[in-house]
Symmetry: C2
Subunit: 353 residues, 2 copies
């Protein structure tokens, strides 16, 4: 067993290293794996050995998740499993668009095992059991607005992003398409398999990943807590789903009704829900903001519903605790270390280790 | 600057860590970025602030590469930039299908800076400026055969893979589709941008990545050497492309003609070409083997052409140096550390550092 020791002089020189300014971290183990998924078989008898282009009887292994994991030396016991949102991959948690450390590096430095997924039919987990037509539709500005960066081309005054040419280029290029239909059951099945390999941990979701996050917690007892960053939806007991609130956004916030047994599972683990800044209290024609007003309202209703049934759900609207200007992308905003500290403080309060 | 020191007792306990058996490595810096790419703009005047679904005037940033990089403490100067092959992503270089260290970890332990790319229109670099229809066509066995694992369902006797259920599951799931048409110019433009960020280094390609590898070396003076693992094609001076050899494979091996100036660039940097085992000398109806017979022949012709013009190209057929049974996936075979050692030995001979 060889170890790598760093002389003080080298360490001092590393202090001048550019870009992310990550502190050196000793990685005990790292790697990647595919988790879950299914197999489809083409009908007919296999004949590919003599006729290579004959697909009869051949298989397709698809609908799995891809995970890259890193285990720092002397890691906390609790695994952190990260699930991205709409149009993103695991990249969403990596280096920020302006070249700073993302949550991957930040939580690694804090001593956590990190498991960063690409959901089925996305990114490196692109092999899908369903065909898909991908358009090449220009819509960068739709997302710029919807992610509360600003109103194109003008960022909001206090917003926590550089929004310069480099930032925009990297931010827009993070987006990557579905290679098969979005399917929450497929995703949560794969994420259950991810937790099967990662062990007990906290499921950290973003945006559209929120729904599969709730479902994964329902399916897997390895999910000991959830941190949902600006989730897009919430699970209520069937028959208790709040009415869909009117909004100027093209994306209304609808709750999802689930069997009571499933809902009650979400009352048995600690849950933290975070929303960032610039979310208005009143309806606004600025649809990219109104989109989040209705989600924050739904979040309040959900936290109440969970806690009424004996749960442990905490909702934090970051400006309420003095953290201002966050966009939908809390994990990569300029003050992302503050956001990570809020998350870690909560994890320590809940005694995950 | 904080450093993390590992007590001997912890190191000893880490020796028992499962799975990949990676030695702990101190990472000075790691992260990811998108490199290169283009922007397309929808015609018309932008109106998305009031009408969110109006795509007029919106942009699409696409056709970039995704890169995950790691810089170990006290790294060699030479960057290693890895470009995967057909149907693969950067995963191809990561943990092997049977859970051992891949080239990412192996070369990291050897002290190299590693830059692992997803090419444009693949994996996490899925945002494409061209639309794409993705079929869900079962063809695992086509690739099992074509990658010289065996003749489905029977692996070859001496082959360097486990080929058990776990291996097969992980191996097949590594495949991920194109999200836009395969385009060597698009790929090599992005890889040139990758080298622009990585600095001087060796371009390590696999299979279909070979073509873009040659082209990247032609475009970028940062490419100081090439290691091509079982490349699918070779660049010859226009008018000097060898005739396409007859084969039982559905994938004939055609050389590519390029302007003499471009070809000569490939004579000015050291090049190593590796092929693995089980490649027959005579034509065979086993098309998955014949596929590589004609490529190995083309490799010989190419190395001769390069060296005749003053180049420094080395071709190694691994059984010739006592390394047997390798499949097309040298980087993840059971003896991948031996393959990595061959590569490192060559790099040291060529004095890259």
């Amino acid at each position: 067993m060889k170890s790598i020791w760093i002389a003080a002089a080298v360490m001092a020189s590393l202090a001048a290293s550019p870009a992310s300014a990550m502190k050196p971290v000793t990685i005990a183990d790292q790697g990647s794996f595919m988790a879950g998924g299914t197999v489809v078989t083409a009908p007919g008898a296999y004949g590919g050995n003599t006729n290579p282009l004959n697909q009869a009887g051949q298989t397709l292994h698809g609908d799995h998740a891809y995970v890259f994991y890193q285990i720092p030396a002397q890691a906390h016991n609790t695994a952190l499993v990260f699930l991205h949102g709409y149009g993103q991959s695991g990249k969403t948690w990596e280096t920020t668009p302006d070249g700073r450390d993302g949550f991957q590096n930040i939580f690694l430095e804090k001593g956590y095992k990190t498991y960063i997924a690409d959901q089925p039919r996305r990114g490196r987990a692109g092999r899908s059991t369903e065909p898909q037509a991908i358009g090449a539709v220009p819509d960068d500005q739709l997302w710029y607005n919807n992610f509360r960066i600003g109103q194109w081309p003008q960022k909001f005054d206090n917003v926590q992003v550089r929004d310069d040419a480099v930032w925009r280029d990297q931010f827009f290029r993070q987006m990557t398409p579905d290679t098969g239909a979005y399917d929450e059951a497929v995703i949560s099945d794969a994420m259950k398999a991810v937790f099967g390999k990662a062990g007990d941990g906290v499921c950290i979701t973003h945006s559209q990943g929120g729904g599969p996050g709730w479902r994964t917690a329902i399916k897997s007892s390895h999910v000991k807590g959830i941190i949902a960053l600006e989730p897009g939806t919430f699970f209520f007991p069937e028959g208790q789903v709040p009415p869909v609130e009117e909004t100027t956004s093209p994306f209304p916030a609808a709750g999802v009704g689930v069997p009571m047994d499933d809902f009650m599972k979400l009352t048995r683990i600690p849950v933290l829900v975070l929303y960032g800044g610039n979310i208005p209290a009143e309806q606004t024609p600025v649809w990219g903001l109104d989109n989040w007003r209705v989600r924050l309202n739904l979040a309040k209703a959900w936290v109440d519903a969970v806690n009424r049934c004996g749960g442990d759900a905490t909702l934090i609207y970051l400006p309420d605790i003095g953290i201002y200007g966050n966009t939908h992308f809390l994990m990569s905003d300029l003050n992302n270390r503050d956001v990570a500290d809020v998350m870690e403080r909560w994890m320590k309060e809940k005694h995950f280790d």
